[in-house]
Structure formats: structure tokens, C-alpha cells
């Protein structure tokens, strides 16, 4: 396979968008294309990541629509729907197109416009990825799966609501330094946990998880320009090499996992990505993990191999995962505060890491970052894509 690099990254601000879906996609795509500054080099193909435009926005075949809007005919166009892992899946498709030699330059854009419907509809839309007969009919939603996971995990490993709140506080702090984040609001331990008014400020969603343990419902788009090493070198751009991609699946119904506190697909996807990259978790300088719920940042930090099982919350407590710590996790604010437009998320994680590796992350820049890791978590862990990026000097 040929080496593939990321040569451009861009995104829209996440949050509530007044724009139509097509404009969200094109604004993020143009930002990435301007960042790549392709000159005479043509885009061979477009891959769009999206989970719900057919249902939420009554629009299908949106990759073709993006080619039209950017006027980059006759570029190839595909959409990838892989639940909340659509973003990294689309990225993988773009990688494969270039690595195989079928394309030299591919635009990967993730988009979701979830606030086109009310919260009840948006929650039901995401819940439709659960097992239809064994989960969905009982009223299972993603927060309820996360709540059941968290209760067992907390009991077994001594994780408390205070640890979960620390994830929220850290990621909200990071998002304050990210102009693209959905939520620009700091939160305190008093405000969301210990003060009497915390009961009102932070109501239960799926016990033991409360509102500030859950990501918001967001609109947004994120985009990457991928190129063969040859094109990247010809253009003379800083080279962020796609060093490893790993993907793994797990049982559809969460109940069927031998140990329901294990996220086996995260572990396997990360192992594959590290093995392909030829490095280990110790070599990683910065990571974006899929913290749709605070508990997931802790659990994924262990399954990915950064900390031993049951010790992720201790690393968090020591500040290891904060900006300035040894392994900053979710400098972007994560899904928790940057927001989670589901189809865009996996791409947005890699946009953040590209900026980090190029030294373009502004106030939230992780110093001397060379190797970066992302975990895009689909379903409730039944389809996970892990990516390792490396800055080549």
C-alpha cells in the first residue's frame, strides 16, 4: 500500500446551525481545501460521512450533492453510513482509495444536522442503532446503555460521580480554547455535583449519568484532504501521515458481551492501529477519544492501552490527561463540549489531531506533539475505528 497523508483540515463551528445541510458540508470542505491549497492538483474523489440525512433532513445521496456544490466534476462520490463511527469509516475509505493507487487526492467530509428535529426525535434516531428486538422495543437509548455500563463499571472499579464530573470539567475547560466548540461554558464541581443547586443544574439523564455526563445534540461538519505521499511532497505541505487504522466489531446487543464492562472492539481496533503504525500507546502525545458520555473517556483510555484497566480515573485525577499533562485527552473539548454531530465526529477528531500535529491548535496546542491517536466509537461499542497519525518533519 502507498503511504497516505492528511494535507488539509477544516470544520464549521459545532452547535445549532441556521444553514442547510449542503452549506454545512461545503463550508467545512472549502476550509479543508483552502488549508491544503491544492493549486492545479485535482480532487479525485469525495467521501461523505453521515448517519441520518435521509431521516433528519430528507436528503439522500449527499456526496454527489457536495461534488456539485464544489463544482469538482467528475470526482467520484460516495456516502458512508456507519452509525457514530461513520466519520472514521469514511476516512478509512478515503485512505484505501489512495493507498491502493485508485486515487491521489480525496476529500473526506463528515456532516450531521441533528437539530433539524426535536430532542426526542434526535434521541430516537440514534437509538435506532440498538438491537431492534432485544433492546430498542424496551425503550433502550444510547444514554440508557451508557447508564447501565457506568453503574457496573463504577461499582467494579471504584469510579465515582466525582471522577465523571472531572471529565466534564476538563473537557469544558478545553472547549473554552476551541472556537469551533458547541459549548463555551466552564463548569465546576460545586455547580454540577456538590452544591445544593447541582440537583437542578445537573438533572439525571440515565442514572448514574446526569446531564453533564452526556454530549450535546449538535449540528456541524468537518473535513480532511487526503493525498498520496507523492502529491503531498510535490505541494511541499507539512506531512501528517496516516500511520495506522484499525477497526473491530462487537455484539449488536450489549447484553451478549461476556463482560459488559469491557469494550473489546476499542481494544482490538487500537491494537490493530498501533501494530500497523509500528508504535505503542506510550508513544502517543495527544488523543481524541469518543466521550459521548464521560464514563467512555475513562473506559476508552484504558482499552486503547494508555492506562491499565480500572486505572483511567486515577490518571484523570492526577491531571495526566489534562492539557499540560503527559497525555492530554480531548484537547478539542471532546464530544462532551465540542459537540457530537454524529456523522461529523470521527472526521472532527482527526481535524483536531491534524491541527495539533501541525502546531496550529492555538491556545490548546499540545507542545511537541508527534504521534496522535483517535477512537471513533460506533453503536455502543459494536463498531470502532482507531487511527494513529504521525507528524513527519
Amino acid at each position: 500500500m502507498r503511504p497516505v497523508s492528511i494535507i488539509g483540515a477544516g470544520m464549521t463551528k459545532f452547535g445549532r446551525s441556521e444553514w442547510p445541510l449542503s452549506k454545512l458540508m461545503s463550508v467545512a470542505s472549502l476550509a479543508a481545501l483552502h488549508h491544503a491549497d491544492l493549486g492545479d492538483v485535482k480532487v479525485d474523489g469525495v467521501v461523505v460521512a453521515n448517519m441520518g440525512a435521509a431521516r433528519l433532513n430528507r436528503q439522500t445521496a449527499i456526496a454527489s450533492a457536495l461534488v456539485d456544490s464544489l463544482n469538482i466534476f467528475p470526482a467520484t462520490a460516495e456516502s458512508v453510513e456507519n452509525g457514530p463511527a461513520s466519520g472514521a469509516s469514511a476516512f478509512k475509505v478515503g485512505y484505501q482509495a489512495i493507498a491502493s493507487g485508485m486515487a491521489d487526492v480525496v476529500l473526506v467530509t463528515g456532516v450531521e444536522m441533528m437539530r433539524a428535529v426535536n430532542n426526542l426525535e434526535a434521541t430516537d434516531f440514534v437509538a435506532s442503532l440498538s438491537h431492534p428486538e432485544a433492546e430498542y422495543i424496551y425503550g433502550v437509548t444510547l444514554p440508557s446503555l451508557a447508564g447501565m455500563f457506568a453503574r457496573l463499571y463504577m461499582e467494579r472499579y471504584g469510579v465515582t460521580r466525582e471522577h465523571l464530573a472531572r471529565v466534564a470539567i476538563k473537557n469544558h475547560d478545553n472547549a473554552m480554547k476551541n472556537p469551533y466548540a458547541h459549548i463555551h461554558q466552564t463548569v465546576t464541581m460545586e455547580g454540577i455535583l456538590t452544591a445544593p443547586e447541582a440537583v437542578v443544574n445537573n438533572p439525571p439523564i440515565a442514572e448514574p449519568l446526569h446531564m453533564f455526563d452526556c454530549c450535546p445534540v449538535s449540528d456541524g461538519a468537518a473535513s480532511l484532504v487526503l493525498a498520496s505521499q507523492e502529491v503531498a511532497e510535490k505541494l511541499g505541505r507539512p506531512i501528517v501521515r496516516i500511520a495506522g487504522i484499525g477497526q473491530a466489531t462487537d455484539t449488536h446487543a450489549v447484553q451478549n458481551r461476556p463482560d459488559p464492562t469491557e469494550l473489546t472492539a476499542v481494544r482490538l481496533a487500537a491494537q490493530k492501529a498501533f501494530s500497523m503504525a509500528g508504535i505503542t500507546p506510550k508513544d502517543i502525545d495527544v488523543a481524541e477519544l469518543h466521550d459521548a458520555f464521560t464514563i467512555l473517556e475513562i473506559a476508552e483510555s484504558e482499552e486503547a492501552g494508555f492506562f491499565k484497566k480500572g486505572e483511567g480515573h486515577k490518571a484523570l485525577e492526577k491531571g495526566i490527561t489534562s492539557l499540560g499533562g503527559k497525555l492530554p485527552i480531548n484537547p478539542s473539548g471532546g464530544l462532551k463540549a465540542k459537540g457530537h454531530p454524529v456523522g461529523a465526529t470521527g472526521v472532527a477528531q482527526l481535524v483536531e489531531l491534524t491541527w495539533q500535529l501541525r502546531g496550529e491548535a492555538g491556545e490548546r496546542q499540545v507542545q511537541k506533539a508527534k504521534n496522535a491517536f483517535a477512537c471513533n466509537f460506533g453503536g455502543f461499542g459494536n463498531n470502532v475505528v482507531a487511527t494513529v497519525l504521525t507528524r513527519e518533519v
Binding site: 432485544a134 422495543i137 425503550g139 440508557s144 439525571p204
Partner: protein
């Protein structure tokens, strides 16, 4: 309660392995010769949650959901009807209306204390 409201998994006719929910082939030996297996009996609560952010179709203060492990080793997700839930607490399955979507009443597993 008519037969149509029961919940079924599968039993493999080749190796006897039981699984729920149903799969296209046996997860253990890959045989496609499968027969229905009623999911019912006693067990214990593995984990549970009180879901306050209610899904579509529900009008109540919260929905108490659980994953249980039955005495035969099979696991099931369903609604926990217990005022004092606890991990490890013994339950038994009953069939009830678990969701009402318009005029359509959906039957499924509920768990009550033994």
C-alpha cells in the same frame, strides 16, 4: 397470554448451544439448524439504569431498564419492575406491554423481584 407475546431466542439442533437474541446461525458451531427457545425464568440483575430522558412513546417519570442474567446463563435486556433495585438481586421474568406505539402494543420481557 397468547403464544405470540412470548420472547424467543434459539437453540442449536446440532450442538445444543442456546442464544438470545436469535442469530442466523449458531454462534458456537455455525450450524443453521436452529429451533426457537422461550426466554423465561429466574435470574439476577447484572446492571440497571433509571432513564429520565424518556424515549419516544413513553409518558412516565422515568423508565427503569436492566440487563439480567438468567439461571441458564442467557442474558436479556428488559424493563425492571422493582422499587428497590440492586446489582445481583434475584428476579424472574414476566411478559408485559413494554412499549405502545400509537395503537400498537408491543409485548416483551419485564423483570420482577422473586
Amino acid at each position: 397470554m397468547g403464544n405470540d407475546t412470548k420472547v424467543y431466542g434459539i437453540r442449536c439442533k446440532a450442538c445444543g448451544h442456546e442464544t438470545y437474541p436469535a442469530h442466523a446461525c449458531c454462534p458456537k458451531c455455525a450450524s443453521e439448524a436452529l429451533e426457537p427457545l422461550e426466554i423465561a425464568g429466574n435470574g439476577k440483575v447484572l446492571t440497571y439504569t433509571d432513564l429520565y430522558a424518556l424515549p419516544l412513546d413513553y409518558e412516565q417519570r422515568y423508565l427503569r431498564l436492566a440487563i439480567v442474567e438468567l439461571d441458564n446463563g442467557l442474558r436479556a435486556t428488559g424493563q425492571l419492575l422493582d422499587e428497590n433495585p440492586k446489582i445481583g438481586k434475584k428476579i424472574k421474568t414476566v411478559i408485559g406491554i413494554v412499549r405502545q406505539s400509537g395503537d400498537r402494543k408491543i409485548h416483551g420481557l419485564q423483570f420482577i423481584p422473586v
